[in-house]
Amino acid sequence: MNGLSTFLGKEVAEFLRTWRVWVLVGIIVVMAVSSPVMARLTPLLLSSLETSGITITVPDPTWRDSYLQWAGNLGELVLFALIVMLGGVVAGELKSGTALLVLTKPLTRPAFLLAKFLANAGFVIAATVIGAVVTWVGTLWLFGEAPVRPLVASTAAWLVWAVCFIAVMVLVSSLVAQPLAGAGLGFGVYVLVSLVGVWGPARRWSPLGLLNGPTSLATGEPVALTWPIVTTVLLTAALLATAVVTFRRREL
């Protein structure tokens, strides 16, 4: 694929030299730090809400609560941040005109898209791994116990879903003219997926199983995610292929 390595290098450099690295890493690290802290403080906060005649009984928090916070933050806040950041992953370059600089040279349109997908997926994975380590350290410090396997399983399951959503964003951003429209479509997909995800069979056999799978895994609960993971990987490939086909035909 002509120009892939060169353009991927440019994407990596852009990530490291612009606001994007600070926003993504910042959000994930804040979530990672706050997860064990919130897990630790939530019972105290709830207890302080007690009024006469009403007693709120909250079990002592454990590492499970910390990991649950982490998984919940990943599934919502971090994913929202990704949608906002990636709304213009392709549309932004088309709108600004920088796409003309590179797509009139020996850089194929598939390489253009794939480089964006790989760079963003790579950074999300790296930042999330850093966040997971921070969560583990915080959990161990605050709770004295932090098993590794549930955290790794939960984070890994979420990453499979996140990488798939990056492919969603590459596709929608390649279809629209404005970054805001790309983000809007991304949110639309998220809402649709969340609604359909309440249906049991969808969770068992499709990528929708990764919506809640990470939170279940975070508590150490065994969850069958083989089919959701397989279908998510297949869906990711299909989304990228669709993006390549449609972007090839797009008038620039």
Binding site: E14, G97, L101, L103, T104, K105, P106, L252
Partner: protein
């Protein structure tokens, strides 16, 4: 190289019900400097986009350097300067050229030397600021540099001098002229003086159709005439009608300074008879100037309809 660096046959492009290109036929000879003229909305940029493979034609055939417009092999031999070049604002000019060169798989040592030469050509040597802080002129010059990074066989330029000062314009035009015979330059512009200065051949596009396509000298000889710039005192309405009826005049229309511009069929007769006609109508002669035809005359004659005649400018 093929005989024609660019060959276009029956090119049409529709955007919905709008016809942007309507059966364009064009051949750009290899090694020539080819001027592509037209008013705003004529279809020049659309044509360029089809040549670059950014847009697909609705019908017709396009050959660029003997191949498909969008193929990677053809793109390796192209250089392109868009109308308003945009770059990644977080990069320096050097980094832009390095990215451009690496996309062409240029050898590192060759690329390093070429970057230095191109930065010098663009007057950007020693400029360390990021492109986000560049002026319009600096961006234009960087755009020209990146269009040349691969030593292209075909250079497609969209308004290359539009943002440049007179010195920058001269440098760019000298560079373009210097490429004649070594590369083919396809030069889309509004600035007729630039085309007259450096181009061998010209095509004039209007409403998606090629009105004329010929060597520059042939074009001027065929379409243009000497013209008379005439300014009189008083109400020139009746005088103007009489002027139009003369056998030695072509079109008569107001010029930008408020006088009259008369295309001449017979310049010698005009020198003798025009002042006599002015006197016959009791008008005073303010300006009387016969000039040879220019590309602007050809362009206006082909593209603009004859404007309605009004009175000459009255001088108190």
């Amino acid at each position: 190289m093929a005989d024609a660096a660019i060959s276009i046959r029956g090119l049409t492009k529709h955007y919905g019900s709008t016809v942007a290109l309507d059966g364009v036929d064009l051949d750009v000879p290899t090694g020539s400097v080819f001027g592509f003229l037209g008013p705003n909305g004529a279809g020049k940029t659309t044509t360029l986009r089809v040549l670059l493979g950014l847009t697909t034609a609705s019908s017709g055939e396009v050959s660029v350097l003997g191949g498909r417009a969008s193929s990677i092999d053809v793109r390796r031999c192209l250089g392109y300067l868009p109308d308003v070049p945009e770059f990644y604002p977080w990069m320096t000019g050097r980094e832009v050229l390095r990215l451009s060169g690496r996309l062409f798989d240029l050898d590192a040592s060759v690329l390093d030397a070429r970057i230095e030469a191109l930065l010098d050509l663009a007057g950007l040597t020693g400029v360390k600021q990021k492109v986000g802080g560049y002026s319009r002129g600096m961006r234009q010059r960087l755009g020209i540099a990146q269009a040349l990074v691969n030593g292209p066989d075909l250079l497609l330029l969209d308004e290359p001098t539009s943002a440049l000062d007179p010195i920058g314009r001269k440098d760019v035009l000298d560079m373009v002229a210097g490429l004649r015979g070594r590369a083919t330059v396809f030069f889309s512009t509004h600035i007729l003086a630039d085309v007259e200065r450096v181009c061998d051949q010209v095509a004039i596009l209007d409403h998606g159709r090629v009105l004329e396509h010929a060597p520059l000298d042939d074009l001027k000889a065929r379409h243009s005439r000497a013209h008379l710039a005439l300014e009189v005192t008083g109400d020139a309405t009746a005088f103007t009608e009489a002027l139009r009826a003369q056998p030695w005049t072509g079109s008569v229309r107001p010029d930008v300074s408020g006088g009259l511009r008369v295309d001449l069929v017979d310049a010698d007769a005009a020198r003798l008879l025009a002042p006599r006609l002015v006197a016959d109508f009791g008008l005073g002669l303010v300006r009387f100037e016969i000039a040879e035809a220019s590309l602007e005359d050809v362009f206006l004659a082909l593209v603009l309809p004859t404007a309605p005649i009004t009175s000459g400018r009255a001088v108190a």
